[in-house]
């Protein structure tokens, strides 16, 4: 087990190198003017200013020098101040957000993380539960209903569903508003008395003892969670169902029945753990997908997460910002992949011991 985890950890630097090379490669398609955003806040106005930047930050140097400088940044000879350097968390400047990309991420990511936190249980656990029910009642009513649902779910686009629930629950019923917080709650959060512990609004409001703010934050997330559940349930239902059916056909399930186990124990003690091996991967990537920002859902519900920020940047051709988000996403993916691999080893002795 330890050797397995160490081997996985050794892969991480390699993956990081791959991701950075990829993103750096894409940066090379940009003009020097656009690339200057990696190091300076303002767009160089004159030819002369641009030349100065190219010289100063080595944008005319060979690629490997540029790559190195992109990683560690450039120190100003006079002031000793560093600019750029993704290893130090400097992803350049977002000209659309008029702030460094890193601080834009820092501002938006907690919102996405908050949404992920509350979406994981309904999206993944309920999805898996649906799949197990469908498999256990194979060809029964629940299974057929699930099949119809998963076909509709897979073929009905997110934005259509999102707009539909927005029409019903916001426009018609006025139950759940879009956005992040109501104005009054926003004022509470911005006021001096409200302390930020985790940057996650739901957690912070609880820690501050503001149940009303907590409810308001949760209310704003309900429709996005509903939409995310709807699009992911279809996948989880299908994958869990087929994995579970496959497992239930295994001979060791017959063995378990022959031993004299109750059917419930056969399903939940013997079949489910084995069926979960495939589902763990899907769950891992779903969580990564949620954490990386769900562009369409966040946009439809005007939810200020990193998905929406990236979409806004892309709409305004702020490529440095978009690539900053891509890099951040890559980091999350690598970490999550590592976590999934470790969970794999925990749930499957064949992986653990090989």
């Amino acid at each position: 087990m330890t050797a397995y985890i160490i081997r996985r950890l050794l892969l991480v630097p390699l993956l990081l190198f791959g991701v950075t090379i990829l993103i750096f490669g894409m940066l090379q398609f940009l003009t020097p003017v656009e690339r200057s955003a990696l190091y300076v806040r303002d767009i160089p106005k004159t030819e002369k200013a641009l030349d100065g930047i190219i010289k100063k930050y080595g944008l005319d140097q060979p690629l490997y020098v540029q790559y190195w400088r992109w990683l560690v940044g450039t120190k100003d000879q006079a002031t000793g101040e560093r600019s750029g350097g993704i290893l130090f968390g400097d992803f350049g400047f977002s000209r659309v957000g008029s702030q460094p990309v890193a601080s834009l991420i820092k501002q938006r990511f907690p919102n996405t993380l908050d949404l992920t936190l509350w979406a994981v249980a309904p999206v993944i656990l309920v999805g898996i539960w649906l799949g197990i029910q469908a498999a256990v009642h194979h060809n029964g009513f629940i299974d057929q209903a699930g099949r119809v649902f998963s076909i509709v779910g897979a073929s009905f686009p997110t934005f259509v569903f999102g707009l539909l629930v927005l029409m019903i629950f916001y426009s018609k019923l006025q139950w759940f508003p879009p956005g992040r917080l109501s104005d009054w709650a926003n004022q509470v959060v911005m006021s001096g008395g409200f302390r930020s512990y985790t940057s996650l609004l739901t957690i912070d409001s609880l820690l501050n003892g503001r149940i009303d703010v907590f409810w308001d934050a949760l209310k704003h997330m309900l429709l996005p969670i509903l939409t995310l559940s709807y699009i992911n349930w279809a996948t989880f239902l299908r994958v869990t169902r087929s994995s579970m059916l496959e497992t239930l056909r295994q001979e060791y399930i017959t063995t378990a029945r022959a031993k004299g186990l109750r059917e419930n124990d056969v399903i939940f003690k013997h079949a489910r753990p084995n069926a979960m091996i495939t589902v763990v991967t899907l769950a891992g990537f779903t969580v990564v997908g949620l954490m990386g920002g769900v562009v369409i859902t966040e946009t439809v519900f005007d939810y200020p997460g990193i998905g929406k920020a990236a979409a806004d940047a892309a709409a305004q051709l702020d490529v440095v910002t978009v690539l900053g988000f891509a890099l951040f996403n890559g980091l999350i993916l690598i970490i999550a992949n590592l976590v999934v691999d470790i969970i794999y080893a925990v749930v499957d002795p064949r992986v653990r011991l090989s």
Partner: protein, 326 residues
């Protein structure tokens, strides 16, 4: 029917049909006649061999007897208890007394459980032992099948086929059952390991007074291990007799053909020996032939064979056969 009191397991007109579902609404479009009106009995302490080609329904018969498939009709008696009438808890409790050894030692062990968990679970679910006593019982069971007790904390994938099969046997034995269905327990193993497992099964039978239903397609192995043998063809029984009677005086043309296919380890006899080669393939169990199911391949088939189903009857003491021509 001699020795009536000694019968441990008996089937009466056992039928197992599997529906074939098709189309959008999963309507039943046909039926697989896996087991059709099969009647035989197994005496306490004996090994009853059930032979037949692949797909003839012998595995289904074994599983239906243990109620792993619920039969379409017919009865299975364990002593005087009709297993087909039992449900839920009652059936679950009966499983202490009847166990199964599976054909595939790779697929039949849960890969996520340790050997101790696999072997010990039956004791737990039947509330027979737990804690230290459970460990001791598992240890005993492993020693009985000649495995080291130190294997208890390992997982199935760390073992060879022969070792896994012995784990499967330990699992079946741990409940101290009276009756064990051995479903082709050696056909997935290397030849060198087969003898080892067969000998183990024989030793265990002697030690614990076990009754075996031994399902196999290998006629030599069945001859070696069985006291009585039944031959199955396309879901029905063709012939049943004591081992020596069946191997020396086969009456059913199918039994005769099967036995003639067993090679003799003597080149002189082997060369002179007459072989009956069966024509064609086994018909589909979805549409079995009318009358006698073997008639399409029987070298002796006559008009009556297509018209009437042969009666399963005792033609000599303890020698049963289903054929119009006997």
């Amino acid at each position: 029917m001699s020795n009536h009191n000694n019968i441990l397991v008996k089937t009466e007109d056992l039928v197992m049909h599997f529906p074939i579902l098709s189309g959008v609404f999963q309507r039943q479009v046909g039926v697989v006649h896996a087991v059709d009106s099969v009647s035989f009995w197994v005496r306490r302490g004996e090994t009853f061999g059930l032979v037949g080609e692949s797909g003839c329904g012998k595995t289904t018969a074994g599983r239906t007897i243990l109620q792993l498939y619920r039969p379409t009709s017919g009865h299975v008696y364990f002593e005087d208890i009709d297993l087909t009438k039992l449900k839920g808890e009652e059936l679950r409790r009966m499983r202490r007394r009847m166990q199964m050894i599976f054909q595939d030692p790779y697929a039949s062990l849960n890969p996520r459980m340790t050997i101790a968990e696999i072997v010990g679970e039956p004791l737990l679910v039947h509330n027979i032992a737990k804690g230290a006593e459970l460990e001791e019982r598992v240890r005993e069971a492993l020693v009985t099948v000649r495995l080291s007790p130190t294997f208890a904390s390992r997982y199935p994938h760390e073992f060879s086929g022969g070792q896994r099969q012995r784990i499967g046997i330990a699992r079946a034995l741990v409940l101290q059952p009276e009756f064990i269905v051995c479903d082709e327990p050696i056909s997935a193993l290397d030849v060198s390991i087969q003898a080892q497992v067969i000998n183990l099964l024989e030793d265990l039978q002697e030690k614990f007074n076990l009754t075996y239903l031994f399902i196999a397609h290998d006629l030599s192995v069945v001859r070696h291990i069985s006291d009585r043998v039944a031959v199955m063809y396309l879901g029905i029984l063709a012939e049943m007799a004591s081992r020596d009677e069946l191997y020396n005086h086969p009456l059913h043309p199918y039994t005769q053909a099967l036995l003639s296919a067993v090679p003799v380890p003597d080149p002189v006899i082997e060369e002179k020996r007459k072989r009956i080669i069966l024509e064609g393939d086994v018909p589909s169990p979805v549409n079995p032939p009318s009358g006698c199911r073997f008639r399409t391949r029987c070298p002796l088939a006559q008009k009556i064979c297509a018209e009437q189903v042969p009666v399963w009857r005792e033609v000599a003491p303890d020698h049963w056969v289903a054929c119009h021509l006997v």
